[in-house]
């Protein structure tokens, strides 16, 4: 295995490289097996997608992305994911706040409710939403086969992310500081803005990144709900599937690569934020 330490002069570098690993022989073997499995399952297949997308030169890439149907699908996907993430930032933080700071009978039930969208099979999630917001809606609201259905489905499946990242941070938050601020004459709004929000910000951003990544990649819950109408309710994942079914793997890989790049950007953002949190703690 290569050592990717930054180049430092002579012995200093050698000593650092050696002290950076504490692997024993058996744990080294374990790491080898784990990495092999991870590569075969995740890394190599994903790399093949990226390779396939640039295999036919940039021409396939450019052609796929300028296809009006694909461009519309990508625009819809990213736009709806952004809207949903914005809602989740507000609602998710509020839900986490109520779950941590408030106490009332049935609170543990709400904890389970938060996890339901994550546990429910996505195709069932679509069916579930269709029962209240579909053609037979008891509320008289029918969003099936409209742009709103994409928004609704994403809102459902991304519900847990911000709540679950903010909740633990909010629990750890020191109440003394808030009380001190209040005793020094800070209004509730000032305390919220100057004390609470800055401590929650990294967790909120991390949750938002997860929710966005999930949003742009959603497929299952949309199948029954959105009708997959070209140029109207068709999302990027559906475009990829259509390309695969038509045997056009290069085009499918191009759209997939765009999605991967966006997801990767979200992960990098997450990592940067969480290391910043660690440094602050």
């Amino acid at each position: 295995m290569t050592v990717d330490a930054p180049l430092a002069p002579g012995t200093a570098r050698k000593r650092r490289a050696r002290s950076r690993t504490t692997l024993t022989r058996s744990s080294g073997l374990g790491l080898g097996i784990a990495l092999t499995w991870f590569s075969l399952l995740v890394l190599i297949p994903l790399c093949l997608v990226v390779i396939q997308s640039v295999d036919g030169g940039w021409e396939t890439f450019r052609q796929t992305l300028t296809n009006p149907q694909t461009a519309a699908a990508l625009r819809l996907t990213v736009l709806q994911a952004v809207y949903v993430t914005a809602i989740n930032v507000g609602m998710g933080t509020l839900i986490a706040w109520v779950l941590v700071r408030d106490s009332f009978p049935g609170k543990r039930l709400l904890e389970v409710v938060i996890d339901i969208p994550f546990a429910l099979p996505t195709i069932v999630a679509g069916l579930v939403l269709l029962s209240l917001y579909g053609p037979d809606s008891p509320l008289g609201i029918n969003v099936a086969n409209t742009g709103r259905s994409v928004f609704l489905a994403l809102l459902f499946v991304t519900l847990p992310f911000v709540v679950r990242t903010v909740q633990p941070v909010l629990m750890e938050l020191d109440r003394d500081v808030e009380e001190a601020a209040a005793s020094l004459g800070a209004s509730r709004f000032t305390t919220l803005r100057r004390i609470i929000l800055p401590s929650l910000a990294p967790a909120i951003t991390a949750g938002a990144a997860l929710s966005f990544a999930r949003g742009i990649s959603e497929y299952g819950s949309l199948v029954l709900l959105s009708g997959n109408l070209p140029l109207k309710t068709e999302v990027a994942s559906v475009r990829i599937l259509t390309y695969i079914e038509n045997g056009n793997e290069a085009a499918a890989a191009s759209v997939a690569t765009i999605l991967l790049l966006v997801a990767l950007a979200a992960i990098v953002l997450l990592q940067v934020l969480s290391s910043r949190v660690a440094r602050r703690g």
Binding site: R20, W37, I116, L120, S217, G220, V268
Partner: protein, 276 residues
């Protein structure tokens, strides 16, 4: 905890509480309740029809087998890699820990595509060679297991890693100094302290594995009674206007997932949830 209880309740507290409950009621509780209601619309007829349909039962059976394989693989891999990531230093550790989360952000359809490009029988990179050796992966059960393992891979790890960080190494080192071998230390010290996190991770993986749809749709070929999983049956039944069967199958899938989740939430010690 004490100061939390002492918090005075203002009007804002109630407004926030009602707003959150209302939001969750409209988005999750009511729709889920409607599906349950629709399943039992004609008494137990829907469930009986679904469960006497060989297409449905074969699919449920396949789903359970695949989910168990995927969860078993992810549990062993997850515990191993979590221990390596937390207890050892090695070059590239941070990169690996970032990459582990990758499957959560990849579209299921892309997962399917990636596995087809690697293990597809005719033009995959490894597929033809493996098929010559008598192992068909794409459009067969191994492919479905791979897809399912892929999408649920980080769940166990995400639950265990924070707990491993928190419990520290004191007890493990004490065990070691008293002459315990690595296996003994793991079974007697480490495993009991990560028990609940592991159970929670396994349940989340199981729920995700039972419910995987997009990735399985691409790699399975969706052949009834052979490679069709339960979620694929739900789609087909719904589109074939056999909605009763679709609702009944959905209900069964949701029941397993939600029941497992509820059981763990109840069993898990309270202070563990609070992260103390």
């Amino acid at each position: 905890m004490a100061s939390r209880l002492a918090q005075p309740k203002t009007a804002g507290t109630y407004v926030r509480r009602l707003f959150v409950i209302g939001y969750l009621f409209l988005l999750v509780i009511w729709p889920v309740a409607l599906v349950v209601q629709k399943t039992f619309d004609g008494g137990l007829d829907n469930l009986q029809t679904a469960l006497s349909d060989p297409v449905v039962t074969d699919a449920l059976q396949l789903t359970v087998v695949v989910a168990l394989w995927a969860v078993a693989i992810n549990t062993v891999f997850g515990v191993g890699i979590s221990l390596l990531l937390v207890r050892y230093e090695f070059p590239g550790r941070r990169v690996l820990s970032a990459l582990i989360d990758l499957p959560l952000s990849v579209s299921p359809v892309v997962v399917g595509l990636a596995l087809l490009l690697a293990y597809g029988g005719t033009n995959g990179t490894f597929g033809p060679a493996l098929e010559d050796a008598g192992l068909q992966i794409a459009f067969a059960t191994p492919g479905i297991v791979l897809a399912t393992a892929f999408v649920s891979l980080p769940l166990v790890i995400r639950e265990i890693v924070p707990v491993l960080h928190e419990i520290g190494t004191e007890q493990e080192q004490a065990a070691k100094s008293l002459g315990a071998g690595p296996w003994q230390t793991f079974w007697r010290i480490t495993l009991p302290s990560i028990k609940w996190a592991l159970v929670y991770g396994v349940v989340l993986s199981l729920a995700r594995a039972l419910g995987e749809f997009g990735a399985v749709k691409v790699v399975s070929g969706n052949i009834a009674q052979q490679t069709q999983t339960a979620t694929l049956v739900v789609e087909e039944k719904y589109q074939d206007f056999e909605q009763g069967s679709a609702y009944a199958t959905s209900f069964l899938l949701a029941l397993i997932a939600v029941a497992a989740l509820v059981v763990v939430t109840i069993l898990r010690p309270k202070d563990d949830i609070d992260g103390d």
